[in-house]
Amino acid sequence: MKNIIKHEFKRNFRSFVLWTSIISGLSIMMLLLFPAFENSMGDLLETLEGYPAGFLEAFGLGEGGLDMGNIYGWYGVEGYLFVLLIGGSYAAVLGSSILSKEEDEKTIEFLLTKPVSRTKIIFGKIFVIILNLFLLNLVMSIVLIISFVLFGEFDFLVWALFSFAPLLHQFFFASIAFFISVFITKSRTVMSVSLGLVIGLYVVEIISKLTDSAEFLKYITPYEYVNAVDIVKNNNIQGIYLLISFAVISISFALAWVFYNKKDITT
């Protein structure tokens, strides 16, 4: 399995560097804007008061929501969403391609005729997904610790949650994409479907905030599971959301493994 992990990690390294630079770069940019806005925050908040409540709620600025006047609230509104959206997209792309690429490019015929079981192939690839996403969030945790120390009072729990809660969100998309890629072997098609899911579930998140009648939808969108208000205000991720995420992630990976072991490779 070491051989596969090493190979896959190298194969995906360039894309890892690219996505990590984009995500951390964008966050740094947004965080650096904070001092400039901090002084004129009053005007900004006044302007915001004119917006409808549902709209503000969608951005975590509703009643009992985030305070953009401090760095945590600022990041929760201005940076965190990008991390979720772009990080989710990276996870979806990685999860979609890492397995399907072998069949799409027909290299699976080579791999499966070597003494390595399908189980090891699946677990090697899942390991590389987990490793890459973990490293991405590790880089983000460094960016955040520096920014939070520079621009505010350092709060360990909020920092830790902002750094590693996105992992849950990314595993969610990566695992579903990985599962789909067992059945749809055209990398591009799997990617489109899973990226659609990343955007689609964000729309679901907004809808669930806009009207009370759609509130139940929050249970199906991982954007809600790791929402910034819970992190900054309550310093936690709700238990029910943790449970749902773990269930979706482990079931997706497990089913991918079961079905992959049984499938015919007919490239």
């Binding site: 015929e109 080579f110 005729t113 070597k114 003494p115 079981s117 015919d264 490779i265 007919t266």
Partner: protein, 291 residues
């Protein structure tokens, strides 16, 4: 070495794979697996390698079950596919490291020898290799771990005649070492050169198994005659063709009869030769279809 027992594979409901195929390949022999495209050759090979699962029946390699013991089987098997799909962005050297990284014991000197024999530049990216060079790489990755069984699926496509010759030399060398070779092909003449026995598959079923020697010695001769007088076709003449004064046919009867028959003719030229396997099997297929 290989025991295929009542192997049946259907793809979906309509698409045919193989039907109730049974066949044994002895240790140390080169076995030709011959049939037209779509006959089920690749399906059989893919089942042996556990890329696909049998619908019914199964196969054993060296006493191990192709499904349950697939991992152990792959330690002793080398496979050369018909179309080469390797990681284009990798260099030849890195690819070989990756490929042999799955094996525990590797004879690096032997691999170096193979690279020299096939004259392959290991610093190049796989994507930039010509078809012939990719094939060479496929041969090296299949032979480097010194497999007990080689499975070849149309291995010579894309090789120039000179490389084909080298390739057959390597196969014969492997045979000397005791390697069993399962050689799937639709080109009969190439199989004839190296194989001990041949199995013919058609429409998913095995039609016949025969030793190459037997097929050639027991069968008809190929006759080419140039004469001015018209030859009347007899029952012993198959695949009878006439072009100006040139006649070609396969002759199934005793040659003495033919010579007697031809003694009344004014013959300008006469060639008697062994027919190729293609011609023998055409003959075989034709007579099968008539009955």
């Amino acid at each position: 070495m290989i025991k295929i027992k009542n192997l049946t594979k259907f793809y979906g409901t309509n698409s045919r794979g193989v039907l109730d195929l049974s066949l044994e390949v002895k240790e140390g022999e080169i076995f030709g697996f011959i049939g037209p495209n779509g006959a089920g050759k690749s399906t059989t090979v893919r089942t042996l390698l556990n890329l696909i699962y049998p619908t019914r029946g199964g196969a054993e390699i060296d006493g191990m079950d192709c499904v349950k013991d697939s991992n152990k089987i792959k330690k002793i098997v080398g496979y050369i596919p018909s179309e080469i799909h390797f990681y284009n962005e990798m260099s030849v050297k890195k690819f070989l490291d990756y490929s042999f990284g799955f094996h525990q014991k590797i004879d690096h000197e032997y691999i170096e020898d193979l690279i020299k024999t096939f004259d392959l530049d290991t610093s190049k990216k796989i994507g930039s290799l010509s078809l012939g060079n990719k094939k060479k790489l496929a041969i090296i990755q299949a032979l480097g771990h010194r497999p007990k069984l080689l499975i070849l699926d149309e291995p010579t496509s894309g090789l120039d005649p000179l490389m084909q010759h080298t390739f057959f030399e390597v196969l014969l060398q492997e045979k000397k070492r005791g390697t069993t070779i399962f050689f799937s092909s639709h080109v009969l003449s190439e199989v004839q050169k190296v194989c001990d026995r041949v199995g013919i598959i058609k429409d998913g079923s095995l039609v016949r198994i025969e030793s190459v020697k037997n097929i050639i010695s027991n069968q008809s001769k190929k006759i080419k005659i140039k004469t001015t007088k018209k030859i009347t076709k007899t029952e012993a003449m198959i695949d009878f063709k006439m072009n100006n004064n040139q006649y070609t046919f396969l002759y199934k009867d005793s040659l003495n009869h033919l010579i007697k028959l031809l003694s009344s003719y004014d013959i300008e030229d006469l060639i008697i030769e062994e027919p190729s396997l293609e011609e023998i099997f055409m003959d075989y297929y034709e007579s099968k279809e008539k009955t």
